[in-house]
Symmetry: C2
Subunit: 203 residues, 2 copies
DNA sequence: ATATTGGGTTCTGTTTTCATAATTTATAGA
DNA sequence: TCTATAAATTATGAAAACAGAACCCAATAT
């Protein structure tokens, strides 16, 4: 039994571009030219157009009709907005998730937390951090909510990697452990309030 | 000075399909065939694909690679999720909007409210209602937040028109006036709490 | 009757080609 | 020298053409 051979070319392009944008290999406001990208992926420009369209829908690119697509810019207002939205959505997701959480969900979260602590560069820490935040929420089983949150997390990550690029200090994230403990006790109130404080610290 | 001749064919298709989905002219799970739609718009199927892609991103369609796109289905879980997200996001937007609200914003909202009261069928009431809910929030000036909310409102509208299709009774919406009064007094707390109750009543 | 195979049809995803809008470069004028 | 216009180049958006996967339906086997 094979796993999803149904991945379209435009999916692959979208994934690759997403990562390049997150990691800052593509800079804010950088132009995304269709046939240039097409060449690097050995395709025609149509699948590229479709990938760009979806990047735009996810807030990672900005398009002006007939004038091309650019990597989405980043100003302080955007950071503020993203934080506000995460603060609005993630606590809700967490509250719905906790009662439905399975042992499997919990162990995934713990694993991600370990990966956070073990990370020794910003890129891999960020990946693990994002996995942690997703792992504690997936159980809510609300697809729109989860994908909205995922997009916001990606945009946060982009900001993080863009501004703190080189600086890296090992960190043990007390909030994460506190959240995990509360979840284990099924103590939604403290889990949610710690998560809120945690997100408030974002900048 | 012309207004936006930069509308692409795929934009027009997207708009038309959006309305057809909202109004229930396209039913949940109905198949959206590319060349069929292309024929009705006298285009090739490429712009149609792009329109479908964006409908998918907005939660109005569901696509399975190589197996086509369908109008997004609607089960009680979805309704619940949409309500939860609106409850999470709209109060936040309102709180940020009120301090920035201009007289123009306010009069737009009043106009929409009047249109609600004057409506004598469900379709036009729904349009006015949506305009009201947007008008009281635009001032927050948070584009991602606003477009997320707009999409949720569209999905609510779809549910509304889908289930209560024919029934129509004139209604004067007390919540709307209460919200407007609170906004006029710059009383964010009551405005937000009335909005929350108002959204809670959604089903 | 039910399940299964095969062939034909339909539909999606992609490439190739093209028209036209936008941008850049060059040229002429003040 | 700077501005404004025109020509050449480049890029986007759409059409046409095509390959291959999914679907349908009839004929065959169980």
């Amino acid at each position: 039994m094979k796993t999803e051979p149904n991945i379209t070319i435009s999916d692959q392009i979208q994934l690759a571009l997403t990562n390049q944008i997150i990691r800052g290999q593509l800079l804010p406001d950088e132009k995304l030219r269709q046939d240039h990208i097409a060449k690097t992926f050995n395709t025609s420009h149509v699948p590229v157009r479709e990938a760009l369209l979806r990047l735009e829908a996810r807030g990672l690119a900005v398009s002006i009709p007939r004038r091309g697509v650019r990597v989405a810019p980043f100003n302080p207002d955007d950071i503020f907005e993203i934080k506000a939205m995460r603060l609005a959505l993630e606590p809700v997701a967490l509250r719905y998730a906790i009662p439905k959480m399975t042992p499997d969900n919990l162990s995934m979260a713990k694993e991600a937390q370990r990966a956070c602590d073990d990370a020794n560069d910003l890129v891999s820490w960020e990946q693990a951090n994002r996995q942690f935040h997703s792992a504690i929420l997936v159980a809510c089983a609300m697809p729109r909510l989860l994908s909205a949150i995922e997009n916001l997390q990606i945009q946060s990550a982009r900001h993080l990697l863009g501004t703190w690029r080189s600086t890296w200090e090992e960190r043990t994230d007390r909030d994460h452990t506190a959240i995990l403990n509360a979840i284990t006790r099924k103590d939604s109130d403290t889990a949610v309030s710690v998560l809120k404080k945690h997100l408030q610290r974002l900048r």
